[in-house]
Symmetry: C2
Subunit: 335 residues, 2 copies
């Protein structure tokens, strides 16, 4: 085990301390609780609040997207574990700005159960809430069971769209409708090459053999579709593109955003090599790429591998994607 | 070997193809040469051009900083190898905007030799050039031999300051003077936990034993100061801080920027844990942190480890650091 940490029990708290010390003008902990991060000096008192939650170990997901133009609050649990419903409830209350609160999060059992309870509690306080679940990982279930799919890097696009819609001043129903429309058009699949290490465990919790690649592995090491002999970058890009496009059914002149997301240990050079192939496939089909995202957006600590997300846009979604954002990990200047 | 690449011989070209396809509005290759990236639509015809060069394998260094407010051109070689003087010369010519060109790069033998020749050639064309070398790695030589030190993550601060000074319209002499002043106040040291893999070699070119950490290792695997038993995050931060501060001699009320730079495979969580400790040390001494940088700024592909850079600011340097920048990998909104 080689991790640059102190006592593994303090991994999450010390991470959040670091974020808070780094961006005191952008984010703050809620009532000094190092499991709840909120946007600082939220300027709009009449907008839908956007909140999320999930386990730690995926930075920049989730904490890194708290800020202007994206999310207002984020509750986190231990590594790969949901935070409690009490923390979610406290966060929802802090992010009610007069138009209700959208809980936008990945489709995982613990998070779902806890958000259900938190929203019930908020209801007693007459806070209007809605829940939208991110289920973009096409590898996690077949299309006829897509309601059971997990949420992965597509979360980032969802935060961006919901956050921009909220900043427009739309009401909760409209923010939900737009976010759901976006999510219907966001599909992701990943591959993993090496495992990650949960700090409190201290060694990999699963193994991928030398010379092998796991297609469709989840960001907590959930089993993928298939283990194959190592493939090259173009083969990986082609395979994932076909899987995503089977559902997106992209047509000539469509517009898409593409995210190549490093899972932690995969060099940026390799991510660009994969992007290059996806861009070539799309160019051949006369499909336009808007605002590509290449880098580490949703990781599994030191896991090697990457995911590809394709987000099919319409005019409204494109405009919202381009709106400004300014969070610790995501800056967009609208030009 | 598990890398997401195609033919290793095409590693650099395909990486640059990816960058060009991703940011067609920001950067371009010079005359379709995939080893020279230049800023697109350079808006100022009367400013100092800022160029750099070096080996591939360090993204976002160097290519990622081509753009508004930072550098105008970048020539790259194979992985860990200098580009040729001819390419540097072509780049210098393309980045002459009427006020001469600053060649700003890390202190490595090949880059130095080739930039010398390129500048001589530019001189025949009556292009005024200056060279400023980045030598921020305190682990690479003792203080009495600091002119032999290597350049590492401090490059990024140097690009930021020189780029901002050039955008102010200063002449070459003044840009050189400011950049050199900045560099006198920029000190870096790193630690490595695992090696990286040069694509054409296919396996690690050096080894760090399980349970060990190499203090002061260079970004190409150059030998460090010492191999130690694995240390915890706070110990690493304390050790590096003391080494840097021996030279910076920070005083109460000083202002600094701090960069925690992941070398490739080290999770962002761990980088924040280290930043937290550095921030605490500085807070105790009443030293203010301005614009901290935490993330992967200068990597060695999949090497695990991180470096810490401290940049001591004066009023002029602080203002230049805060100026806007907009490159593929570095966005700063001046607020």
């Amino acid at each position: 085990m080689k991790k640059i940490i102190n006592n593994p029990e303090n991994f999450v708290k010390e991470t959040v301390e670091g974020i808070k010390l780094a961006y005191p003008e952008k984010v703050d902990t809620l009532e000094n609780d190092f499991r709840i991060l909120i946007r600082k000096n939220n300027p709009k008192k009449n907008k839908v609040g956007i909140v999320t939650a999930g386990g730690s170990g995926h930075l920049p997901v989730f904490l890194g997207y708290v800020g202007e133009g994206m999310i207002d609050g984020c509750a986190i649990g231990n590594v790969f574990a949901s935070p409690s419903s009490q923390k979610m409830y406290k966060m929802i209350k802090a992010c009610e700005f007069g138009k209700g609160v959208l809980c936008l999060y990945g489709n995982y059992g613990g998070d779902r159960m806890n958000f259900e309870m938190a929203c019930e509690n908020a209801d007693f306080d007459d806070i209007k809430t809605a829940q939208v679940l991110v289920k973009d990982d096409v590898a996690s279930a077949d299309e006829n069971k897509k309601d059971t799919r997990r949420g992965v890097a597509g979360l980032v696009y969802a935060y961006k769209i919901a956050g921009a819609a909220a900043e427009m001043g739309y009401d909760l129903e409209k923010v939900v409708e737009i976010t759901q429309k976006a999510l219907n058009n966001i599909k992701t699949m990943g591959v993993a090459l090496t495992p990650c290490i949960v700090p409190e465990v201290g060694e990999p919790t699963f193994k991928i053999e030398e010379g092998k690649i796991e297609i469709g592995m989840g960001i907590h090491g959930e089993q993928g579709i298939e283990i194959k002999d190592m493939m090259n970058a173009d083969e990986i890009a082609q395979l994932i593109f076909e899987k995503l496009n089977k559902e997106l059914k992209l047509q000539e002149n469509d517009e898409v955003s593409v995210m190549i997301n490093g899972l932690g240990a995969t060099p940026l050079e390799e991510q660009y090599i994969v992007f290059r192939k996806i861009a070539k496939i799309l160019n051949e089909k006369n499909i336009n790429i808007i605002m590509p995202h290449i880098g580490e957006y949703a990781t599994s600590m030191e896991m090697a591998g990457l995911s590809i997300t394709i987000f099919k846009l319409d005019q409204e979604l494109k405009e919202l994607l381009k709106k400004p954002a300014n969070t610790p990990f995501y800056t967009n200047i609208n030009k």
